[in-house]
Amino acid sequence: MENNALLWIILFPLLSSIFIRLYGKGVGRKAVSLIACSSVGVSFVLAVYAVLAFASDHQVQVDHVFLWLRTDQLHTWFRLSLDSLSAVMICVITGVGTLIHVYSTGYMHHEKAFERYFAYLNLFMAMMLILVLADNFLLMFVGWEGVGLCSYLLIGFYYQDHKNADAGKKAFVVNRVGDFAFIVGLLSLFWALGTQAGVWSFDFAVIRDHISSISSVQILGLSAFTFISLMMFIGATGKSAQIPLYVWLPDAMAGPTPVSALIHAATMVTSGIYMICRLSFLFDAAPVTLEVISWIGGLTALFAATMALVQNDIKKVLAYSTVSQLGYMFLACGVGAYASGMFHVVTHAFFKALLFLGAGSVIHACSHEQDMRKMGGLRKSLPITFWIFVIGTLAISGMFPFAGFFSKDEILWQLWNHSKYLWFLAIFTAGLTSFYMFRCLFMTFWGECKLDASSKAALHESPPSMTIPLITLAVLSCVGGWVWWPGFMPLTQFFPHWLESSVIVRHPHGSHFAELLLTALSLLVALGSASMAYVFYVSNISLPQKCGAKCKALYKVFANLYYVDEIYEALFVRPCKSLSKSLSVFDQKYVDGFVNGMSKVLRLVVFIMGSIDRFIVDGLVHFFAYLTKTMGIWVQRIQNGHIQMYLAVLVTGVGFFIALYLGYFGL
């Protein structure tokens, strides 16, 4: 079905971004916030409208914008399409995006570079929408790189501090590693399809129809399915912060908090999951890759959760928690439960955006203090933020009936039916999640307030522009999961049915009773961890230190994040730096020396040629000019204006010729 509304969903934020970047300074802050928020709001309305149109007939909507690349074999359109998967994504992106834009107008109120922030945030929205609406790989890659760029720009938003600029660079470079693998996978797929089936195309639909033709192809000793899907998964680990490329995400917290909420929690980092769901037909044909994905996802979930246990920076806790939750999603994809992964993407977008924005509200209130050890007892001075944070924490811990419960439980149930090891990994991580999130909650809102006097005096609840998005997200975190109830409850299972048309959906065959038991168990684990956190951080405050002293080695490993950054520093960064240093010496000594020598030779040649030009060529020209001028001066004297002189010459001449004539012919 043709539909031109899809392009407008992208165009509104894009045009707004361009406008704000060019003219934002001139039109004033109010206008900038209005334009930025309303452009995203309009695109949310359009997205909802398009999704409703899709829901009425379940026809994939296509918007042919223009023919982008055209060769003999390859016709690639700039074409957008809306199916059930991208419908879910655009609703989340534009919905959460709108709320975060509104929130940002309050949060960034004091910021000098207000316009720059909104221009980039809008650009991010446009790029993310291109990513999910693209109906071919090339266009998706445009979005894929575009969101990476915006992420870089926004992480380094406070670039005046060198550390923040470095964090941006780190994110960009680490992503580049993943993107490289992604391109390799993409081009291998293109090549394999082209040579095997004679189909040169990047379109998802075409690839899906012909994917079986490459089953016999081998690339580097692996089957084409395995190789291509592995490469694409590496791309996904870059964007979605999985082992081994997760290191950029915690550093990405250098950006403004709403950016962390939108880009580094709710939307961009889930694009890896989206890509895997989009290509579920390919990944499903590569069991080896799925195995790798599930283990990488599970280990990431576990390790990130342990690192989150010992963080003191409130945003860092949330950052590691994001990595951990993303691991959960990959875990689900890895066991072929793509729909469950996608479900967790949606609920996670709600409660993690809520938590980040809540943390932003806390940070805003505490005069930009991020260390939880200096907070405490904030629940009386920030009542709205407190309740919001409570809801977020309950949701992420998987408490019934908040959003996280449904998605996490679904994933656990799928894991149980696939592999008990993975299930154990996941439920252990769920316990850790509950523990560190309640730790964060208790450290921030319970106990004594340890802020210094001036910050304490400035303590204030956030303005409505921030609390209203927070309340909306809190409502979504409560009810967002109610679209996929566990199998033992006789309620709606809307979400998997919705996705069925575009993603492979599996329903596990275990009994309802087993599912009920497991659900109860996971709830118990979450509650147990929460109460343990209560003991540690509210009733017996000295306990954490005692524990820390007892397991010093473990604590140190956690606190130093498994030394991954140091290992990367030693393995990649330092060799790279010293290589560039020696290359730079080579460059300065030899390359520049050669160039300078050449320039000296050239200067000599030019000097000789210049002399020839100056003395011989110019000399000749000047000589003739001089000659003409001198002759002119001499001849000029004859024509002096005295008519008698002319006459005298005339008469003399005539007389001369007469004399000649007479002398010749005789008298």
Binding site: Q636, Q639, N640, G641, H642, I643, Q644, L647, A648, V651
Partner: protein, 109 residues
């Protein structure tokens, strides 16, 4: 020797007049004097025309009188020339306030 009353004696008078006129034109600084010299040259040519006419038509025993007509033309021409030249000289005089030909060198290259 030159026979008196013959063609040559007329030509000598004409040549003398011509030379006097030419000398006047070349050497006098006053424009009016130069114009007078030109008149002399005209008259020298008129004498030559008439003298040649007289003696040549006698030898050809015809009465063509063309030389004498040319003489009359020369007189008319002289009158016309005097009118035009004097007008020019007056206009020049009004401009540069002097009759001296050496000051009239504006048209030099």
């Amino acid at each position: 020797m030159i026979e008196l009353g013959g063609l040559h004696s007329y030509l000598v008078v004409g040549a003398f007049l011509f030379c006097a006129g030419m000398a006047c034109v070349l050497l006098k600084r006053n424009v009016i004097h130069m114009l007078m010299g030109i008149e002399l040259i005209f008259n020298a040519s008129a004498i030559n025309f008439i003298a040649f006419d007289h003696f040549n038509s006698m030898e050809l025993s015809g009465q063509l009188m063309s030389g004498q007509v040319m003489g009359l033309f020369v007189i008319v021409l002289a009158a016309a020339e005097a009118a035009v030249a004097l007008a020019l000289v007056l206009a020049m005089f009004q401009m540069i306030k002097t009759p001296n030909i050496d000051d009239m060198s504006k048209l030099k290259g």
